[in-house]
């Protein structure tokens, strides 16, 4: 969890204009929706993905993210609306004319072809000469570091290698738009992290626009320039990973990205600029940040690493004496569940587990504190 935060911060600070010069395509979903009879799987959605952007769609299964990707690829005909790639509406175009690259969840490699034949397939379909195919396949194999595997069959490769073949096959014809549908879903954790690095590097070098579907928020935060959280066939919030993590708009986004303690808000006592003072049903008075539309904001979102413990809580805008209910060591961090005074329940606190720091015993009292800027008001569902 800490790793994610670190990478989020680093990349979140990268402004859009610093993106490398791109040959990627610009994608616009214009009032797109999809229904099957009475069942609406995608509500009217308008979304623009800039050229060269690494854009992630995240959400639980059934949230509409795969439908959106399917519409772009041409596998799912939308019920209403237009999809434009560099200004051209592609809704009426069959998939094989769209010139889009795609990596599938199960890779969808052709089991009866060798690795080289798999990668050469899109070139063959485009009528490239045999020599050109051989040359470009060789280059693509080198790019994914599988030079020696060209004559193998997909079934003879490991999951990670198959994944790289799928990537090479989707990129070998230089599409300006690359779609990835949970490409790392089938890999184990270590390999997944390794492949994330590789995909990121790949996209930087390749310069295409990438639209990446995943239900793994850490993966999305690591990879994407911007991400859209989807829920129930609708876009819930769009922003950079850091924006979404630090300023979630809703309860759903707050708890979908990373870990959050949510405190209910009973009343807003005062407002001064972006800062508000609120009272909880349990009787605590808390100073917090309210980015917009104060009236809708009925809860506070607290990130576990933003709460200081013990001596570190001194001088914070909000300070309370809590009781430790649960104390756990996880690799690199000490994780506490601390009961707030009154009846507002528990908050999660996470501090680095430096050598020599004792784990607090459950039942002990501890001061916790956070500054106003660390607590964000969000909309309740």
């Amino acid at each position: 969890m800490n790793d994610m935060t670190a990478s989020t911060l680093q990349r979140g600070s990268l402004p859009m204009s610093d993106l490398p010069a791109t040959r990627g395509a610009r994608v616009e979903f214009d009032h797109i929706s999809k229904d099957y009879g009475d069942l609406t799987v995608l509500h009217e959605t308008t979304l623009t993905i800039e050229a060269g952007e690494f854009f992630a769609l995240i959400g639980p299964s059934g949230s509409g993210k795969s439908t959106l990707l399917g519409i772009l690829a041409g596998f799912v005909p939308p019920s209403y609306g237009a999809v434009r790639v560099d200004g051209t509406d592609i809704v009426a175009m069959p998939p094989y004319r769209r010139n889009i690259g795609m990596v599938f969840q199960n890779y969808a490699l052709f089991p009866h072809m060798t690795v080289a034949e798999n990668i050469g397939f899109p070139l063959k379909m485009r009528g490239c000469s045999r020599g050109e195919i051989g040359e470009r396949v060789k280059k693509a194999l080198a790019m994914v570091r599988l030079e020696a595997m060209g004559e193998r069959r997909p079934a003879q490769l490991s999951g990670g290698q198959q994944q790289r073949v799928a990537l090479a096959r989707a990129a070998v014809y230089d599409p300006r738009l690359l779609l990835m549908d949970e490409p790392l879903g089938a890999l184990d954790k270590n390999l997944r992290e390794e492949m994330q690095e590789e995909i990121k590097r790949f996209q930087r070098a390749f310069g295409a626009t990438v639209i990446y579907v995943t239900h793994d928020q850490q993966e999305a935060a690591f990879l994407a320039d911007r991400l859209a959280v989807m829920r129930g066939g609708m876009l819930e919030q769009i922003g950079s990973p850091r924006q979404l993590y630090e300023m979630p708009g809703t309860h759903f986004v707050a708890s979908f990205l990373g870990e959050a303690s949510l405190l209910p808000v009973a009343e807003i006592l005062s407002r001064e600029g972006r800062e508000v003072t609120v009272r909880t049903p349990g009787g605590l008075t808390i100073r917090a940040l309210a980015p917009s539309r104060v009236s809708e904001r009925r809860a506070l979102c607290l990130r576990p690493e933003n709460i200081a413990l013990g001596a570190a809580a001194q001088g914070r805008d909000n300070r309370f004496l809590g009781t430790v209910e649960e104390a756990v060591f996880t690799t690199g961090t000490l994780r506490y569940r601390v009961r707030l005074p009154g009846s507002d329940g528990l908050v999660t606190v996470r501090v680095p587990s430096l050598p020599g720091i004792e784990l607090l015993a459950p039942g002990s009292s501890v001061e916790i504190g956070w500054d106003a800027a660390m607590a964000v008001t969000i909309a309740e569902d």
Binding site: A73, G74, Y96, I100, M102, A108, R153
Partner: protein, 296 residues
């Protein structure tokens, strides 16, 4: 638990050969009964037939010499293989789209499709051959209908022709083609077709470059099944073909009319050997085509 686990114990255990339970011991016992049955009712009669083929009064190889010298018998063999080839190709062409549609069907449509394949499959070939006779004979359903429609003036000769026999044989063989095709087609991951589409393959190339090769195991299995079954067709050509030159009909004539058991046995032996040879050829081809891809 802290500290290291004791290292000597597992080593000592390794030194002794493990007396582990193994499935092979019980398996052999289970195999004994079917093996005995096969030996008694399949291998023994087969050997007896082979023995008979060398038991002609005029010498052990007399029957084979007579087959080689008899134009009618030679033709009968050639005709049989030719018929098997025609029936196989016709059955494949008819079955492929049917199997494709059923493989894509869901729920009720899948059930309806399977019923249409399985009910004829479960119906005796004798009954179906008689049914074809009823349809194709001089005053049969087909002729009556064509006459009533005014398309023909006189009944067509449909029974006792190659055409009629072939049509009936193809119909009887269809399930043997459809079922292996279906099983191969249902195993094809459809996301592979989507991948082909997004990579630039139009529907025709999706079929030729991806779907057809992936369905080839079913094509091969179905063709072998139909071809070999057709080689031994007896009841349908005997009923519909009159004096059909199918080899099984010829063998029956040798036995029941000419009482020439050795010659009939030799014909059966020749058919068996040719069939085995063909099957081995198919297996070899199959293995070469599948190549290293079978590692999965």
């Amino acid at each position: 638990m802290t500290g290291t686990a004791p290292r000597t114990a597992p080593r000592a255990a390794q030194r002794q050969r493990a007396r582990a339970w193994s499935p092979s011991k019980g398996g052999l016992l289970l195999l004994a009964a079917p093996l005995a049955l096969l030996a008694l009712f399949f291998v023994a009669p087969l050997l007896w037939v082979l023995g008979q083929s060398f038991a002609a009064p005029a010498g052990p190889l007399d029957t084979y010499v007579r087959i080689a010298g008899d134009g009618a018998l030679r033709y009968s063999l050639i005709y049989t293989f030719q018929t098997a080839a025609i029936v196989t190709v016709a059955a494949l062409v008819l079955s492929y789209p049917v199997a494709f549609l059923i493989s894509r069907a869901q729920g009720r449509w899948l059930m309806i499709g399977m019923v249409f394949v399985l009910v004829p499959f479960w119906t005796s070939a004798v009954i179906r051959s008689y049914a074809w006779l009823v349809l194709l004979q001089r005053r049969g359903v087909v002729n009556e209908m064509l006459l009533a429609l005014g398309l023909i003036d006189r009944p067509l000769r449909l029974a006792n022709t190659d055409l009629g026999t072939h049509v009936a044989m193809v119909q009887i063989m269809l399930p043997f083609m459809i079922l292996p095709l279906l099983s191969a087609m249902r195993g094809i991951d459809l996301s592979v077709l989507r991948a082909a589409a997004i990579l630039g393959a139009n529907p025709w190339r999706q079929f030729v470059n991806v779907y057809l090769p992936l369905s080839m195991p079913g094509v091969g299995a179905g063709c072998v099944l139909v071809f070999i079954s057709t080689l031994g067709f007896y009841i349908t050509p005997a009923l519909l073909g009159g004096s059909s030159p199918m080899i099984a009909v010829a063998i029956e004539q040798q036995v029941s009319r000419l009482l020439d058991w050795p010659l009939a046995s030799a014909l059966a032996a020749v058919l068996l050997v040719l069939t085995c040879a063909l099957f081995m050829l198919y297996e070899r081809l199959n293995r070469r085509l599948a190549g290293a891809g079978e590692a999965r």
